[in-house]
């Protein structure tokens, strides 16, 4: 079953340029999905469309099989969201925020939320504005989890945190995923972390999706071929990126490990990080320029 499905999704702000175009993918349930792309690639737009904060210019969004409708946002009870820089009402105490969450949501697990905050040593009588950045992020995550969503969407949740706070935040998130059937969609620039945390990826480049799939399959479906520099005109099937030395070339190609390699080439596996960077750095294709 898919948690989130988008079909031909596009968003144009005013009469200006398209922030997102022709996006189609399925996100499997129970996974941790990483949304990756350069700044301005359309990540936040895509996340906001997915949770109904924005209405699409074209295409549609389905949450757990049901179309997301702006006029009847009942489906949103199943979605939790932590926005960029995890904003909280700064003048509210942590207890106020819990009270607010309980009043605004039909299903709100305050017991677990209080337990989690106690474990993290976050005082309930402290005003949100006086908490450290890491604590604010943890409170925002705790509130989103207390809603007991089936899909949790996080927009660069740990980008502004120091390494230790970041680790604690991600640790809380991993624990929460282990505790439930939660599906997580998070945007991130921390490519090194993706390999450990995510089991599915969506890559955006200039408002278009350039790669999507299970991380295991993506890694198994690509490899680096090293060998004598090929004829410039020779077409290599599934070529993603090439680095050339004077006599030697390294080619990142999309082809399964089972495809036999020409004896001139040495085939090596590729890391997820290498793969992601190669796709993000790919030169613009003609149809991508508009």
């Amino acid at each position: 079953m898919t948690a989130l499905r988008v079909e031909g999704l596009g968003k144009r702000y005013g009469r200006g340029t398209w922030a997102l175009r022709e996006c189609t993918f399925d996100l499997p349930q129970g996974r941790i999905i990483g949304l990756v792309g350069a700044n301005g690639a359309g990540k936040t737009t895509l996340l906001h469309l997915a949770i109904g904060l924005l209405s699409p210019t074209e295409g549609s969004v389905f949450l757990f099989g049901r179309p997301l409708r702006m006029d009847r946002p009942a489906g949103l009870a199943e979605v939790g969201f932590v926005a960029q820089d995890h904003p909280l009402y700064r003048g509210f105490t942590v207890a106020d925020l819990l009270h607010f969450g309980r009043s605004m949501n039909r299903r709100f697990d305050e017991t677990t939320a209080r337990k989690r905050l106690a474990e993290l040593g976050i005082p309930l009588d402290r005003r949100a504005g006086r908490l450290s950045g890491g604590q604010q992020a943890q409170v925002a995550l705790t509130l989103a989890l207390a809603k007991q969503p089936r899909l949790l969407v996080l927009d660069e949740p740990a980008a502004s945190l120091d390494p230790l706070a970041r680790r604690e935040f991600m640790s809380t998130l991993m624990g929460a995923v282990a505790d439930s059937e939660l599906t997580v969609l998070l945007s991130s620039h921390a490519i090194g972390e993706l390999e450990r945390v995510c089991d599915h990826l969506v890559l955006l480049r200039k408002g278009r999706m350039c790669l999507a799939g299970d991380t295991d399959e993506l890694v198994a479906g690509h490899r680096v071929l090293s060998g004598p520099r090929p004829d410039a005109n020779a077409a290599m099937q599934g070529l993603v990126a090439a680095t050339h030395g004077p006599r030697q070339s390294h080619l990142l190609v999309r082809q399964p490990v089972t495809v036999p390699v020409h004896p001139h080439w040495e085939a090596n596996p590729v890391s997820l990080e290498e793969l992601v960077l190669a796709y993000l750095a790919q030169p613009e294709t003609k149809e991508g320029r508009d």
Binding site: I32, G175, V177, A178, E195, R196, V197, D199
Partner: protein
């Protein structure tokens, strides 16, 4: 409780690293029959890895017959590895250390040592097969 660690630079997939650590723990006697492994949740939170990855490692260990889940209690080591007595390990590793020192003094780098060990192991295996 057994503690896992991750080498993020090794290039070895996370689930395989976890599987190998349990296997090593058993071989070296750090893990013994009846020991409990930490829960999937605890490992995922401690190492900051996807719980699905930890679950995959545990399934793999279960398939290999090294651990078994007990309903409602957790995952336990069933110790089906041929264990060598600790004293034998100590004696062999002391002699190996002396040999590695000699190799270094003779100018061999780690890669050359590894290549030599692999070659000798291969030779040994083919000899055993021929016998």
């Amino acid at each position: 409780m057994f503690a896992f660690r991750l080498d993020t630079r090794s290039g070895v997939p996370t689930y395989l690293q976890l599987v190998e650590q349990v296997r090593h723990g058993l071989l070296l006697g750090y893990l013994q029959d009846g020991d409990q492994l930490p829960t999937v949740r605890d490992v995922a939170a401690a190492l900051v890895v996807n719980p699905n990855t930890v679950a995959k490692a545990y399934r793999e260990l279960e398939r290999a017959g090294l651990v078994a889940p007990r309903a409602g209690q957790g995952t336990f080591v069933t110790g089906n590895v041929d264990r060598v007595p600790a004293a034998t390990y100590a004696k062999l590793s002391a002699r190996l250390r002396a040999w590695v020192n000699a190799a270094r003094e003779a100018g061999l780098g780690p890669d050359q040592v590894r290549a030599l060990v692999t070659a000798i192991l291969d030779e040994d295996r083919s000899k055993a097969r021929a016998a």
